[in-house]
């Protein structure tokens, strides 16, 4: 297990390296010029060229990649072209809101979706099952931003229960922190709930048809004990897998959610950087996202052994 973990961790290095090269190449080929954005509408071609030279953007591809990669190997993600602040500092400023939003969303999604999926499987073919599936289809079909506006209108403007936008750090109190995350978490979590609920239902239906479940029922165990103690644990592998895959969905989802709710997270940092072609930020954030994604996948793989001891590494 330990050897497997180390091997997997070592395998992430070339993966991250490939991602870095791919992202750098993609940005190099993408039309757009940060020097032109910086110079503004009034600048001349000569002004833009001077700024480009000062930023080193006139250097050949390999030179630029080598300078950047060498710095990254030393833990330096570079300096934002526009703000002149270190990318690590900018990411550091944004980690809190995004981490808070992601954790709340995951929490909401898992706490709601897994019971929904279990109940739907338990009552398969009945009205409760159909309601869960209806919600699942609706939740999966509704764009995050539409749901976000509906939630803002209902709960922030009409009922005035929750704030419209922004983020309050935990240092300013638990409720202010949580109150700013409830609507974004629901908006972002709905699609995730729909996905996990469907997968949970499918996995549970398969498990509930197994002989050992019938045996458990025959032994006289309570339905809840059979569902939670026997069936759910055996259905956990695909559920955990989909939660892991969902992290990727979450990463793309926070971009929209953070924009609509004006949360200063990493998603908005990414969008803003792309729009103005702030290459060091884009490269830094994508490296971060790919690292997180690789590590989440590793954690998911390792968790299989917890749920199914037959799995050996």
């Amino acid at each position: 297990m330990l050897g497997y973990t180390i091997r997997r961790l070592l395998a992430t290095i070339p993966v991250i390296g490939m991602v870095a090269l791919f992202v750098f190449s993609l940005l190099y080929l993408t039309p757009g010029d940060p020097a032109a954005v910086i110079a503004g509408d009034i600048a001349t071609v000569e002004d833009i060229e001077r700024i480009r030279q000062n930023l080193g953007l006139d250097q050949p591809f390999l030179t630029r990649f080598w300078v950047w990669a060498a710095a990254v190997l030393q833990g330096d993600l570079g300096i934002s072209i526009f703000t002149n602040l270190p990318v690590t500092q900018l990411i550091g400023q944004r980690v809190g809101p995004t981490l808070s939003l992601a954790l709340c969303t995951l929490l909401v999604a898992v706490l709601v979706a897994v019971p929904m999926g279990v109940i739907a499987a338990w009552k398969a073919g009945r009205i409760l099952d159909r309601l869960v599936m209806l919600f699942s289809v609706a939740g999966f079909s509704m764009p995050v931003f539409v749901l976000a506006y509906v939630l803002i209108y209902l709960f922030a403007i009409d009922l005035d229960w929750l704030p419209v936008q922004g983020y309050t750090p935990l240092r300013d109190g638990f409720w202010p922190w949580l109150s700013h995350l409830i609507l974004p978490s629901i908006a972002l979590g709905t699609i995730y709930i729909a996905l996990i609920a469907r997968i949970t239902r499918a996995a549970m239906l398969e498990v509930l048809a197994q002989d050992y479940v019938r045996t458990a029922h025959a032994k006289g165990l309570a339905p809840s004990a059979v569902l939670m103690g026997h069936a759910l644990k055996n259905a956990a592998v695909p559920i955990v897998t989909i939660i892991g895959i969902g992290v990727a969905l979450l990463i793309s989802g926070v971009v929209v959610t953070e924009s609509v709710f004006a949360i200063p997270g990493i998603g908005r940092l990414t969008v803003d950087a792309i729009l103005r072609r702030d290459y060091p930020i884009i490269q830094g954030v994508i490296l971060l996202f790919s690292t997180v994604y690789v590590l989440v996948n590793l954690a998911v793989d390792l968790s299989y052994r917890f749920f199914d001891p037959r799995i050996q590494y």
Partner: protein, 531 residues
């Protein structure tokens, strides 16, 4: 038990992670009177000389001060300067600074700071470059006075030092102003009415300013960037909300106090709320522009450009941009309507009956052979995109083979710098807009320039226009200056360096407990009260 301990550890980890990102320190700003302001854009750079972005100019007005400033009558007024004199030969100015001018770090403002700042500004700004060309020397006399010696009289010297829009000649400490003009400064130390709290700056989200208690306002009433800059709140937070619907909801809910630029379609929604006021506080507004690439066919032929004058209906553009006749209107002048430079000479070419037959005749005379016409557009910039859509329709109505190359603004500004033909990534037309103060005279109206490949994008070559502009620089009499502006306009209808599409104002909205907003082309935050 084990599970409980694991849960507790997980909770501890979560709290540690959040604390590690600086989230668990106590805020000290709770009790202050704070004005929450939603600005027009995200502040990305702290250097108003390095970039011409209007948001950085606005930041500059918060933190820095200027030697002179223009008032609402377009008169130059002293700002940091107490007195000034001009020698009889009009070659030597002497400036004396006001008492009590201090940098945010408590150090006094010195003449050497002013000189270094003006010299850096002059390396980037067109009017500044003109002043620099005519400058013999800047010399500090003592700790408050300095002189400017010119090689030849330059009647626009004070106008240059009072330039109200990008690049504004803000005064910075000498050590900062010594930075190369093409390298961004990182410090935020000025002598203006607000101090930036840099530790609280979260790019893309929030910029925090506090009142500069050392600031000594002038005695005169505030008028545009001149006069008393009295700060009436303790703290100003610029809260950048990228989504318009969210910003509207935040203002409705009272989470923010003032939203600088309200998209026209959201005005009716906000106007329904009795606790919100929606007003036009910008007397000059902005001007939409249709710009041609004059390096390549078909718009290298003036008849093709003239043809479009008979097709453009400014009412259509005004409506497309502003969505409401109250916010947009025709402005058939190459210079900002409402400014002293506004000219009506030859404007009937845009105000008269639209004449498709005349346009088609000019197109035929130009020898147009159906070449493809590429109109650059940016879908993330509604003002740019709406103009592009209108232009596409009018070109098609005249039988021109036009297509819209829609992308984002970042791509547009990159492609518009391409001087190659369209089959090699070039372009024929793009649209943008400039704020009114940027087109109030020939010195700063750079789309009028005709210096070939050194001109602004589109690169017109027009020696006669340059001669008229140079004559305007030398003119000392306001009447003579106006005649030259009229002559430039008359010539402009022949060469058509660009077509002004409309003049529009983007309204501002604020909570009813906010008062004291200044009527000005820039959203200044001094004089603003919150009850």
């Amino acid at each position: 038990m084990f599970a409980n301990r694991r849960s507790a550890l997980a909770a501890l980890w979560l709290v540690s992670a959040l604390a590690g990102s600086g989230l668990l320190t106590v805020s000290a700003a709770a009790q202050q009177k704070t004005l929450k302001f939603v600005p027009e854009a995200d502040l990305r750079s702290l250097d108003p000389i390095w970039t011409t972005a209007y948001i950085t100019r606005n930041y500059g007005y918060m933190v820095y001060d200027t030697l002179f400033a223009v008032n609402e009558k377009f008169e130059v007024q002293p700002q940091m300067v107490e007195t000034w004199t001009l020698s009889d030969d009009k070659l030597s100015y002497k400036f004396t600074l006001r008492d009590g001018l201090k940098w945010h770090d408590g150090q006094p403002v010195r003449p050497i700071d002013c000189i270094a700042s003006i010299e850096r500004w002059a390396k980037r700004d067109a009017l500044g470059q003109k002043l620099a060309d005519l400058t013999d020397s800047w010399t500090p006399i003592d700790d408050k006075a300095f002189t400017l010696k010119l090689k030849k009289p330059f009647p626009l010297t004070l106008d240059a030092l009072a330039k109200p829009s990008s690049n504004v000649p803000f005064i910075m400490p000498e050590r900062v102003a010594k930075t190369d003009a093409f390298t961004q400064i990182t410090e935020s130390i000025g002598s203006g009415p607000f101090k930036m709290v840099k530790e609280e700056w979260v790019p893309g989200n929030k910029v925090v300013f506090v009142k500069n208690t050392d600031y000594q306002p002038r005695k005169e009433a505030p008028s545009w960037a001149s006069g008393a800059k009295i700060v009436k709140v303790d703290r100003v937070e610029w809260v950048y909300i990228p989504d318009s619907a969210t910003a509207a909801a935040a203002l409705n809910a009272g989470e923010v106090d003032w939203w600088q630029m309200v998209p026209p379609d959201l005005v009716p929604l906000l106007a329904k709320n009795k606790d919100i006021k929606v007003e036009n506080t910008d007397p000059l507004g902005s001007i939409g522009l249709l710009r041609f690439n004059q390096l390549h066919p078909p718009f290298n032929n003036p008849k093709m450009r003239q043809a479009l004058l008979y097709l453009v209906n400014q009412q259509d553009y005004a409506l497309a941009i502003a969505g409401d006749a109250k916010q947009g209107k025709p402005c058939p002048s190459f210079f900002t309507c409402g400014s002293p430079a506004e000219s009506k000479v030859g404007s009937q070419v845009l105000t008269g009956k639209r004449d498709l037959a005349k346009a088609k005749q000019l197109i035929q005379e130009a020898g147009y052979k159906g070449e493809k016409i590429v109109i650059l557009s940016a879908t993330d910039q509604p003002i740019v995109h709406s103009q592009g859509l209108v232009t596409l329709e009018i070109l098609k109505s005249a039988g021109l083979n036009a297509e819209l190359a829609a992308n984002d603004w970042g791509t547009l500004i990159n492609r518009r710098a391409v001087k190659e033909p369209i089959d090699k990534g070039g372009w024929n037309i793009f649209h943008t807009w400039l704020v009114g103060p940027d087109m109030t005279n020939p010195a700063i109206n750079y789309p009028m320039r005709g210096v070939g490949e050194k001109s602004w994008f589109g690169w017109p070559t027009d020696p006669k226009m340059e001669d008229l502009r140079n004559a305007w620089f030398d003119a000392t009499d306001p009447g003579q200056q106006k005649q030259l502006i009229d002559a430039m306009q008359e010539h402009g209808w022949e060469t058509v360096p660009f077509i002004p599409t409309a003049q529009f104002v983007i309204p501002t909205a604020y909570r009813a407990n906010v008062s004291g907003l200044l009527i000005s082309p820039v959203a200044f935050l001094w004089n603003v009260e919150k009850k």
